[in-house]
């Protein structure tokens, strides 16, 4: 069962990944097949586990100020800055239309 083009396009939008060629898509298909093996296990009457940490204690921190005040360091990572603000484009830049992308989906 192949992953449909609609799903691939949806995934590209959500995760900003680019299934650039057939190899990338094949890898995705194989990964899904590998994970699908889980379906063979009988889990009737078993509570789902969503974290291997479920028996660990969630550590609670005291409400003290212990961090911050490192503006200069943080801004070193910024390509562009304006008076200690990070600079970003005016809004989310939408993924280019399918025709304009160099993606595997072009050929499908």
């Amino acid at each position: 069962q192949k992953v449909s083009v609609e799903v691939l396009d949806h995934l590209e939008h959500l995760a900003l990944v680019d299934f650039r060629d057939w190899e990338g898509v094949e890898r995705l298909q194989k990964a899904i097949q590998f994970a699908d093996q889980l379906q063979e296990v009988n889990t009737d009457g078993v509570e789902p586990m969503d974290s291997v940490l479920e028996d660990r204690c969630l550590y609670l921190r005291e409400d003290d100020v212990t961090e911050g005040n490192c503006t200069k360091e943080l801004l070193e990572n910024a390509r562009e800055k304006v008076e200690e603000y990070f600079v970003a484009p005016p809004g989310n830049i939408p993924l280019p239309k399918l025709e304009e992308r160099e993606t595997f989906l072009q050929g499908s």
Binding site: L14, Y59, R61, N77, F86, P90
Partner: protein, 456 residues
């Protein structure tokens, strides 16, 4: 034309009042230099991990208890993914599957026909309360086609309170939010000042005909005050009704309230239905809370949150405080409503009552009619009042002892507002406002007046 039933639900984000953020130790403070209150975790630098702030959990438990919720002894954290410049990690840590509190209720009061004397109590169900991170702030610079990002707010703890669609108009929504605001401020779990972004409200609005299923709902954002909340909701209800009556349809969209134009407009940047790809937060185990029965024996008490302990220490909520004021001082319910609606007014009233012999039922008139209207006229808060409770009590004592008349008292009060530091007695003497008690003196004055008349 068949009648329309409007349906209004609310999603309210209250910033938790704490020293540091939900998952990091950077400071929570309004209006600090940009990006100065940001830790490596807040900036989503690799190799950092979330560490839960105990105070934030306590704030959420307090709020849940005050809203009659069931507190989930086990709640979970999840990641909600979306891309935006002020969300450096590309996801928000929230509680989507099992939030900390569920199934509560909030009672609030409304005046019928704007008459304070006819108040009715309504209830709205609280679906849930969840802990989540706030995002940073985006400043849009349209001129230079760029957005400036300040992460000071990124990671601040929020309580999202979800109110079921039990409300039917702007007035109900506003009253419910006002009561929630008072509760949060009484608990201290949030300062809930809307102007500083500590309380943000999104409204979900739809309309339908009686007997038919609920209509398509729109989400209204960018509501910056309780007054605008009422206006935005009422506008949206009207817009939807008009649209449907003209044969149009309602889109399931997000709209922004424009306070200048008094209308809602579709929001850009919200393309269709978002897929947030919720997944469990892999770095945080479940949050376990205890009560008196389940308290573990050998745990470090700093690591244990006891719901019963918190419950025992809840302060009197506004509703209880109002009832106590009515009972203790014999004032009317609508009086206690106004007393609690103005920050500091109830304390002012009680201080005056303590310092005067005048009955509370009479004092309340001076507080609500004279003091409050003056403060409103000059846009002052109770704290900023040039007339202290001490001075007012002093004045009311003169009135009570019949040393001055009621009219004279109002004149003295007018003088006191100037805040020139004079005592009521000094003003009375200056303006010769003393009531004459001496019978002989009164007879003499009357005689002089009569004599004066005869001369003409």
């Amino acid at each position: 034309l068949a009648p329309w039933i409007p349906v209004v639900g609310l999603e309210i984000h209250a910033q938790i009042s704490s020293n540091s953020k939900l998952f990091s130790g950077s400071q929570v403070q309004f209006a600090a230099p940009p990006n100065s209150l940001v830790s490596f975790f807040d900036a989503s630098l690799p190799g950092t991990l979330p560490v839960l702030n105990r105070r934030c959990v306590e704030a959420a438990v307090m709020t849940g208890l005050a809203l009659n919720c069931s507190i989930n002894k086990k709640s979970l954290f999840d990641r909600k993914h979306y891309f935006y410049a002020d969300l450096p990690a590309g996801y928000q840590i929230t509680q989507q599957r099992v939030p900390i509190a569920v199934n509560g209720s909030l009672s609030y009061s409304l005046c019928i026909d704007n008459k304070m004397s006819q108040m009715v109590t309504k209830t709205v169900r609280i679906k849930q309360i969840q802990l989540e991170q706030d995002s940073g702030k985006s400043l849009h610079d349209d001129a230079r086609s760029q957005t400036l990002v300040d992460l000071n707010r990124a990671g601040v703890g929020l309580m999202e309170v979800v109110m079921e669609p039990d409300m039917c108009c702007g007035e109900e929504a506003a009253a419910a939010v006002r009561e929630l605001q008072l509760i949060l401020q009484t608990l201290g779990s949030s300062q809930a000042v809307m102007a500083e972004g500590q309380l943000r409200v999104d409204a979900n609005v739809s309309v339908h005909h009686p007997g038919e299923p609920y209509g398509v709902r729109t989400e209204v954002k960018n509501i910056n005050s309780i007054r605008f909340l009422a206006k935005a909701v009422d506008y949206e209800i009207q817009r939807q009704i008009e649209e449907l009556e003209n044969g149009g349809i309602i889109l399931n969209e997000t709209r922004a309230y424009d306070s200048k134009l008094g209308c809602t407009v579709p929001m850009r940047d919200k393309e269709g239905k978002q897929d947030y790809r919720f997944m469990p937060e892999p770095n945080l185990p479940p949050l376990i809370l205890y009560d008196a029965k389940s308290l573990p024996a050998n745990m470090n008490h700093q690591q244990v949150i006891n719901i019963d302990w918190i419950h025992e220490r809840l302060p009197d909520l506004p509703r209880v405080r109002r009832e106590k004021l009515v009972e203790q001082y014999g004032i009317l319910p609508e009086h206690s409503f106004t007393l609690l609606n103005e920050d500091g007014l109830a304390e002012f009233f009680e201080n005056v009552v303590k310092q005067t012999q005048m009955k509370p039922k009479k004092v309340i008139g001076w507080i609500l009619n004279d003091l409050l209207s003056y403060l409103k006229e000059h846009s002052l808060t109770v704290k900023e009042s040039p007339v202290s409770s001490f001075l007012l009590a002093d004045l009311l004592n003169l009135l009570e002892k019949k040393e001055i008349s009621s009219t004279a008292a109002k004149r003295v009060l007018a003088e006191l507002w100037k805040g020139e530091g004079k005592t009521p007695l000094e003003i009375v003497k200056e303006q010769k406002l003393e009531l004459l008690q001496d019978q002989k003196e009164l007879e003499q004055i009357c005689q002089e007046v009569i004599d004066g008349q005869e001369d003409e």
